[in-house]
Every structure is written in C-alpha cells, then in structure tokens.
Symmetry: C2
Subunit: 281 residues, 2 copies
C-alpha cells in the first residue's frame, strides 16, 4: 500500500475551487443560544449542530472556517477537534481554516502553530500581522499549511489603525493595510502559502488590495449578516481566472432557520450564496 | 456575612506595587521539555510545576502572567484554569494577566473576553489593537478587568509594522506605535483599565511612549532571556511615583535551575530581579 503525500492547502483550495465550482466558505461560529430546540438537552450540542451544518453544506463550499473563540468560551476544545476530524474524514477535498487570529513572538508563535496544525489538524490558520514577520514565521515555515493574514478587516473600527496613512517624503500617501498587503505578497509569501483577510464590507479596498498582490487568495468575511455586497466583492476582488476568493458567511447560513429544517435551510443558503457569487465571476 | 466587592485590576495592581514593593511579573510559560526530572512521569506536570513556581515566587511579584499558547498546545486548559484558581485562592492580592493577545470583531471579541474573564477567571488579558477600537470594546467594557494592549513589542521584527512612520502633511513623522499609544491613552482608556505592552528591548521607545501616555501602566516583557536592560527600562519607563511597570520575566525565572532546587532557584531569580529593579526606581 502506498500513501499519497498530503497536498498543500493552496493546491487543495485551488482544486476545490475548480472541481466544485464554488468560492463559498461556511464559518462555523456555534452560538448554543441560537441552536434549534432539539439541541436543548444535548451535552454535545456544539459538535452535533456543527456536524449537521457541515454535512448539509459540504457540496456547496470550498472551505470550512471554525472560529475558535466560540469553542473556547464554551470549554468545547474537544468538539472543535472532533469537528475538524469529521471534515477531514468525510470531506478530504475541503480544507479547514482555523480562525484564531493568533499573533505572538518566537517560541510562543511556535506553540500557536502547533495548536492549530498539530493539535487540531487545521489546514490553514488566520494570524495577525501587528507583531511583524518573525511572529508569523513559524506559520510561514509550514509550507503545506495556509497562513491567512489580517489585512483590511470587515468591522466598523477596522480603519482605526489599518487606514492610517503613511506618507512618503514626497507627500504621496498610502494606508497601512496596503503596506501590509505589499509586504506579505512581496516578502512573506516565499512558500506560496499566504492569503489575506479583506472584508466584504469594503469593496473599494478589495480592489486596491487585489491590484497590489496579484493572485494571492483573499478570505473575505462580511457578506450575509455584516451586509457586504456580493456583486461588488466578486467584481472587485476575483483573480484573472475568476477565482482567488474564499467568501465566508457564518450566521446567515448557520442560523438560516431555527426550526427542525435548520440543516436544509443552511444548505439552501450556502447554495444560494454560491450561485450568487458564480453569477458575477 | 457581608462580601466585599472585588476591587478592580488597576486598584489591586497599584496596591500590590505599594505594599509588596515589587514591579516583577513572573510569566508562566510551561515547556515540559525543560521541567526538572521529577516531573517526567507526572500526568499533571504542567499544573504542578507552575504551582510550585507560583508558591516560590509569590512574595516577590506584583502579577503572574500565564501564556495561554503553552497550555493550549499541550491540551492543558484545565491546568490553566486550576492554576489561576490556585493563585486567586492562595494569593488574592496578586492579579493574574492572561497573555493571549486576542483580537477579533464584535461577537467573537465577546467570546474571547468571556474565555479570559469568565472561563479562566483572569484579572486582565493582553489584546492586539490591529482590528481597531470596536474589537477591543468588549474588553474595555469590563471596567473591573485590565486590558493590556500591544504597543511596541519586544521581538526583533516588532518594527515591521509598528515602526512604520506616519507623516502629517507638514512632513513631520511619528511611528505607528506612538499613534497607537496616544489613541489608547486619549480615547480607549475611559474606564482607566488600559495598560500597554512595550518591550524591554527598546529603551528609547519606552521613554517615548511614557512621554505620550502619562501614568498608564506598562507590561514590559523582554528582560532576562531576551536581553532587555533593567536599568534602562526602569529609568526610561517608570511613572513619576517610581512605579507604573509590570516587568515580566519568564524563562530566566522558570528554568533558573533544572535540578531539584528549581523552586528555590526561581525564587532567587525573582527576588534578584525585584532588587535590581528597585535599585533604579
């Protein structure tokens, strides 16, 4: 028996875009208070609910993105581990991005990389660039894994730091997030394993970042509940081949129905988002 | 029986500075490979080792700072929770800063605040400012808790983003970390519960940030193993009353001896650091 070596996150993501014809990512942000009534007395509600969502939406997604705080605040590390195992076993073509936005120095960054990739078996992880390249290096060094770095986030306060304008001596200015984008695409992406977080709520910024970084993939949160416009996202941020995007929606899919049809409603919402995105590619 | 209301992190920190006459913080970064031989077959080695260090060094510290990645990578959430419980029970005057450098948006930030303060019972938490004020707001709103925000970190790559110079239209420039410091001191600190991370490895930057933020406390990592100079730190960063600093050392205290005298060696290292700091206050 021969074992095929595990392909890299980037190769798997590109394959999934092509073969499943979808740029949708389902964000797994479990909020037990929003679960359907049938989970009220289930001690493994977080795992069971997320597993049902995964099984219902898998045909329509290019990636799953569990958000670690939702598990950690509920003491549900084991549910997270089991969920990622379940995805890997049942849907080996769909990569998992662990959304943890870690950022720390040297030896501690190593531990965060180990948490994401070794403990939980994630294929990619979100990280924060504020501490500089050496804080991201332990993630970058895992060439088979994806490193999804915050650039221009989707929240209302994103601009507080990210939009600060850095002028050069000639008086020509560019906001911080564009410098971050350029630094990552030019210097940090030696292993071709970087992606950028750019929020769907800022279509103009999506276009500017795309112009800077070429074909580096974007993780785009903020469609759905946060109000990002799908047509503007796809038009402004797709790559030349009509892909390059991981468009993430969480609440609008997970909680599409609070009744017994929650899984079917989630599948319908994921399929509708896939179709809406594909109309503009 | 009446119960006294819990005092705020800031009040407790100031009291501890005054009454215990120490600015030392012991960083609890457990690395099982560095533990003394007696822990080799102990299934609770992480808890037991950290507890011994806490018990040995408590007289010499103003705060303890467990670093969460070291626990998470080892599946040791329960050890972390037990350790913070132990500190609260045995040393109620010594606040606990959970070093997790979290940063995320809206509802997710709420979950991270809940993780730190409700699940683990920490008195303060480190957070990353890159996502802007709304990402920090759920922490700021906990007026009794401390919010320790990254400003100028101690690592070699700290300057990659933090030193980027923002010029105004007149051509006068200031690096990003100084803007961050000013924003926090002026706008984010409404509940008087903010502190800043400024690395010991950058004495000049410590002085500049101190000039900007008045008496806002600093968490100062980077003395000891990372080589920060204690005299320069204290001289440049103390407040007018000779305090205002939480000077954190981890490896140089935790692993002062790998023999059976590890606890005594840790106590000696913590006491020596306290004395060295106090000579320059």
């Amino acid at each position: 028996m021969t074992t095929e070596p595990m392909r890299s996150f980037m190769d798997r993501l590109r394959d999934r875009w092509a073969h499943a014809d979808t740029l949708v990512c389902v964000g797994l942000d479990p909020e037990p208070a929003k679960f359907p009534a049938k989970f009220a007395h289930d001690p493994d509600a977080i795992f069971h609910f997320c597993r049902d969502i995964v099984d219902a939406t898998a045909p329509y997604v290019c990636a799953f993105k569990p958000q670690i705080a939702h598990f950690a605040a509920a003491h549900a590390e084991e549910a997270l581990r089991m969920l990622i195992l379940h995805i890997g076993f049942r849907y080996p073509d769909i990569p998992v991005i662990l959304d943890s936005k870690r950022g720390d120095i040297g030896s501690t960054a190593q531990h965060y990389a180990s948490e994401a990739f070794d403990r939980y078996g994630a294929d990619a992880v979100t990280v924060n660039p504020y501490l500089g390249r050496d804080s991201v290096q332990p993630f970058l060094d895992r060439a088979d894994k994806g490193v999804v770095i915050l650039c221009r986030t989707s929240n209302p306060g994103a601009g507080d730091l990210q939009d600060m304008v850095l002028y050069d001596k000639c008086g020509s200015g560019r906001p911080l997030y564009q410098h971050v984008a350029e630094k990552i695409a030019r210097d940090w992406n030696e292993n071709d394993n970087c992606a950028l977080v750019v929020g769907a709520t800022w279509p103009e910024q999506l276009r500017e970042v795309r112009a800077i970084v070429g074909d580096v993939p974007f993780l785009v949160p903020g469609v759905g509940a946060q109000g990002g416009d799908v047509a503007a996202v796809v038009t402004n941020a797709r790559t030349r081949d009509g892909a390059g995007l991981v468009v993430s929606s969480s609440r609008a899919i997970l909680y599409a129905s609070s009744g017994d049809d929650y899984a079917e409603a989630a599948a319908n919402a994921a399929r509708a988002l896939r179709d809406e995105i594909n109309r503009h590619r």
